[in-house]
Structure formats: structure tokens, C-alpha cells
Amino acid sequence: MTKQERRKTMIIFALAALVFMIAAILAGDGGGEEEAIQDVMRDAVLHDLNKVSLLGLIDVNPGLLAGFIVSGFLILLALICRIFIIPKFTLVPGKIQLVLETVVGLFSGMAKGNSKINKFLGAYIFAAGAYIFTGTLFELFGVQAVTTAGRSISLPAPLSDINGAIMMGCLSYLVIMSGGIAGNGIKGIGKTLKEYSLPISLSFRLFGALLSGALVTELVYYYSSLSYVLPVLVGVLFTLLHALIQAYVLTMLTSLFYGQVSDNTPKPPKEKKHRKKNSKNKEMKQTAEAA
């Protein structure tokens, strides 16, 4: 196939997709879904309508189930890596080894760059980053679950559940506090408590970011007329982008604050006031001399 032929085929496909989209918008009546969009979006925020059963024990938000699935997947992946890939590591890395080393090196380096006490921090931000990234991408796959009301829903990102986001925010705050204690003892607790708004800001930043993504996705998928072409942009690109951004933001903030509260180097004495005073004295002397 020559270049011109390929270009022609692509143009035909694009035109066909556009025609289908316009036809769907013109022909559709806004979707034949069971729930109203208001209910869907309200439920995405509050999780009060659609609950899923956790092994028949309790009814939980779908985000928690998604969290367990994501964790299971990550643990399985880690297990596979541990058994099949890590023992075959060589001094000159191959492709998979390079990916693993880059990811571990990225978080380890971030921890090292921000704090002197970084062994635990590196491991924590690695796990948090992996969880946020994979959890956010998880909504792309549209894994189905049945609610307690018998409806079928696609599982959302674990951290678009407010409980998951609060857990992550508060845990990050506790980790930061542990850094403060490790670096400065009891003084470190005081240093951490100064940033009292941190758990709320961390939690709600995460929740807000992931919820907005979930809401936009819900909105797009709700109307069948918007289900052509647009999900490629909204669903895949946006999700990929904010998976990366959110993982980076939380890990970066955690390591920054951790570094701040664990830092035990004494502050240099302030010299500005003295300098100002000295310069004022000099000016006064000069004017007096001139007079």
C-alpha cells in the first residue's frame, strides 16, 4: 500500500466516523439509559445508590472493589516480576529490566532528592504512585460489576471514591509525620501539625481530580450520541494524562513535605535586619559627613 492509498483510507475512515457521529447526534434522543444523568453523576460523587457486595459480607462503594482488584492485579504483576524477571537481571539491563529499574529509580530518586531519611519514603511513594496510576487507568477497562440493586455498572477508579481518597491523603500525612518524628523527634510532630490542612488538601485534591475525570467520562458515555470518536480523546488521553499527573502530584507533594519536616539542619541566623541597620547607619553617617 502506497502512502497516497493509506492517506485515502484514513480519510475515508475519518469521514465515516464523523458521519456516524452526526447521524447519532441527530437521530438520538439522549440515550435510552435506565438512570437519569443527574442520578448517575450524583451517585458518582456520593455513592449512595449503587453499592456492590463485598464477598457477600457488606455492601461497599464500587471504588473499594476496584481498589481490591487493582491491588490484586499489581500484586500478581509484582509476583510475576519477582519470580520470572528479577532473577534474570543482568548488569546491562534488558527492556523489561530497564522499565522496572526506571520506575523504582524514579521514586527512589524523588525520595532521595527531597529527604535524607528516605528508605521508607521511597517505598511508600513507589506503592502510592503505582496504585494511583494503575487505579486511574483501571477505569479505562470498564470492568463490569453488579450492584446490590441488580444493575450493571463499570467499576470506577478506586480513588474516585471519597473513602479511598481520604485514606490516601491521611496515610500520606501520617507518613509525612513519621518522617518528622524520624528526623526531629517530638519537634517533628509539631512541624507536621503546622500543616494541619494537608490531609484534607491531599485527600480532596485526589478525590476532585479523579472524580472530575470520572464525571466527564460518565457524561460522555451516558449519551450514545457522544460515544463516537470523543471517548478516544476523553477516555484514553485524558485518563492517561491525569493518571500520570495525579500519581506525580501526590508522590511529589508527599516527598516534599516529608523532606521539609524531616530536615534537621539548623537555620542560618538572620542577617537582613543587621544589614539594613548597618546600611541605614552608613547612609546617616554619609549625609552627616556631606552636611
Binding site: 462503594n61 500484586i75 529509580g105 517505598a123 506503592a127 502510592a128 473513602n163 485514606m167 490516601m168
Partner: protein
């Protein structure tokens, strides 16, 4: 809806926490720690290699400096040896010259003695020869005088005889 806003449920927060704790532990044990250990080992391996290379380089530089010193020392040693050898040669030459001078003197004195002895011998033999010659000559002379006298006498006698007759 419950009394807590946004439907926050502490039980579910704890469940999320439980979930994440397990994930954290598993990821740390299965992935983070082994990969980081491997990376650190490799880093230390290369650091060791680097430090070894550095120490080898330092050792080589030290050895080089040592050898440079030695070479410099050797130059001085060679110079000293040369001076020493020159001195020895000078001394030897002096000694040889002295010996030669002594030999020459001895040879000259020997020659002189020999010459004197030979001279004396020659003089003695010459004297003897002269004496002999003089004695011989004297003898001859004496003989010749007596013969010629006799002959003269004979001739005189003969003349006298002949003269008397002729007259």
C-alpha cells in the same frame, strides 16, 4: 444518606487502608526491595570497580613517580660512578705514569750504567789495543830500524865495496 457529608464511611476507609497496606507490603517485598537491592549492588560493584581502577591508577602513578625518582637517582648514581671511574682512571694513569717514569728512569740509569760499563770496557780494550799497537809498532819500529840500519850498513858496506872497485 448518613449524617456524614459526601457519604464518608470509616469502615470503608479502613478497608481501603487495609487494601493499600497489603499492596504496599507486597510491592515493597516483591518489587521495590529486590530491584533497589540489585541497583545498589550494581552501583557498589561499579563503584568498587571505579575505586579499584582509581587505586590502581594511583599505585601506577606512585610507581611511576618512584621510578622517576629512581631514574633521577640513577642519573646521579651514574654521574657519581662516572666521576669515580674517572678518578680511578686518573689515579691509575698517574700511577702508570709514575711507574713508567720510574721504569724509564731505571732503564735510563741501567742504560747509563751499561753505557758506562761498556765505555769503560771499550776504553780499557782500546787502551789495551793501543798499548798492544804501540808495543807492536814499537817492536816493529825497533825491528824496522834495526833492519834498515843493517840494510843501510849493508848498503854502505856494499857501496864502499863497489866504490872502491870502481875507482
Amino acid at each position: 444518606m448518613t449524617g456524614i457529608p459526601l457519604n464518608i464511611d470509616f469502615q470503608q476507609i479502613l478497608l481501603h487502608l487495609f487494601n493499600f497496606t497489603i499492596l504496599f507490603g507486597a510491592l515493597y517485598i516483591l518489587l521495590y526491595k529486590p530491584v533497589k537491592n540489585f541497583m545498589e549492588n550494581r552501583e557498589s560493584y561499579y563503584a568498587d570497580m571505579d575505586s579499584k581502577a582509581e587505586s590502581n591508577l594511583k599505585a601506577a602513578e606512585n610507581t611511576k613517580a618512584e621510578y622517576d625518582d629512581k631514574i633521577r637517582g640513577l642519573d646521579e648514581e651514574v654521574r657519581a660512578e662516572k666521576n669515580k671511574a674517572r678518578k680511578e682512571i686518573e689515579e691509575m694513569r698517574e700511577r702508570q705514569l709514575a711507574d713508567a717514569r720510574a721504569d724509564a728512569e731505571k732503564i735510563v740509569s741501567d742504560a747509563r750504567n751499561e753505557a758506562n760499563r761498556e765505555k769503560d770496557e771499550i776504553i780499557a780494550s782500546a787502551q789495551k789495543e793501543i798499548t798492544d799497537m804501540v808495543t807492536g809498532a814499537m817492536e816493529k819500529l825497533a825491528l824496522e830500524q834495526s833492519a834498515s840500519d843493517a840494510f843501510d850498513q849493508f848498503l854502505d858496506a856494499a857501496e864502499q865495496k863497489t866504490g872502491g872497485h870502481n875507482e
